[in-house]
Amino acid sequence: MRSVIDIRELSVEEIDGLVATAMDIIENPAKYSEACKGKKLATLFFEPSTRTRLSFEAAMYELGGNVLSMASASSSSATKGESVADTAKVISCYADIIAMRHPKEGAPLVAAMNASIPVINAGDGGHNHPTQTLADLLTIHREKGRFNNLTVGFCGDLKFGRTVHSLISALARYEGIKVVLISPDELKLPGYIKKDVMDKAGMAYEETADLMAVMPQLDILYMTRVQGERFFNEEDYLRLRDSYILTPDKLKDAKKDLAILHPLPRVNEIAVAIDDDPRACYFKQVLNGKYMRMALILKLLGITV
């Protein structure tokens, strides 16, 4: 049974296929409106996440399928001590596919190892979030028309930002990608990603703390939120929270066709004044996430339209 736990499990060809399906869904939504008729998606969210859960649910409804959802993590059997493995076995009896978010890293993998239906990782702690990466990739494809020969800046929390790690891993497989890592010292990209992913792929990259200095060379600027829930220490979080805030004046040297991405939710790292700038793509990214989740659900259920 095929599951998707980590973006690296999807080959470049499979990602191209998902992008092609998503583009077809965008152009011909009616064609897909009953593609999943009679199928059920179970959304198992063991930590709060409104947007990812709603995105999965909207995706399944737009495919004509149904959704089984628990009211909140506190109402789940996990609070009674049920293991992830048992939960996966039980839900396999009710649904056709699972989307799981869990605060513990590796929980969706454990679910996939025990479920008899496909499991999609909808985020596990600070580890993986493959469908966010699929949303990012479709946004890059729609804004730039390509996945190669791009300079991509990642700004903010590069240490705990799982979306950053996943997108770098995905982009490492394309030609001519240069990555610019913009963060304070405390939130730098972990060394193992530089070594195991970027160096192995021969990916060009530079590290800086100065966003303005690198702005003119960027084709894509991927902003991130400094996430309080990833810190053990409240003091560190408060000190680093406002490290990088994107304001209109910081964009004065940026390319005219820069694409600004953000996995959302934002707190204050992108000024609201930027929302009307045509370079702001983060709300389009949300929509693209739904299309890619639709494409992924179809793929994992083996449905062709």
Binding site: A85, K104, E105, G106, A107, G125
Partner: protein
């Protein structure tokens, strides 16, 4: 220092000095009721110093543990006082139930029944990562 020769058993030789105790612990040799000798800092022509473990019983050892801690060690099976065969441990691709994940965010910290599994991600640097959370083995 003299340690009696063994008749039927195992000699783990050429252990990098300092790693003998870790092998002894991970193989749970302290729980065996046969004679077991751990010799630390023995003189070696090739290595300068080395550790040696002698087990006076015909048992099967977990070669993955040996390969994980010290792939340079050698294992000799002794039968009737003579070396019957020699084995060279290999760096195992997967380690199950040998070491624990130390990442407090890993699912293994809350689900006690889950086996701790590590996979070899870089043979050159002998890097192992947790199967579930990918944290590096310490």
């Amino acid at each position: 220092m003299n340690i009696d020769s063994i008749i039927n058993g195992i000699v783990i030789d050429h252990i990098t000095a300092g790693k003998g105790m870790k092998i002894y612990q991970l193989l749970s040799l302290d729980q065996m009721d046969c004679p077991v000798a751990l010799i630390r800092n023995a003189y070696s022509k090739k290595m300068g110093r080395k550790d040696i473990i002698k087990i006076d019983a015909d048992i099967t050892l977990n070669m993955d543990i040996l390969g994980y801690v010290d792939p340079c060690a050698t294992l000799s099976i002794i039968k009737e006082g003579k070396v019957a065969s020699k084995q060279k441990p290999m760096l195992p691709r997967r380690l199950t139930g040998v070491i624990s994940c130390k990442n407090p965010r890993c699912i293994t910290t809350t689900e006690q029944e889950l086996p701790h599994v590590f996979t070899l991600t870089d043979a050159e640097t002998r890097t192992y990562r947790c199967l579930y959370c990918e944290a590096k083995a310490e």
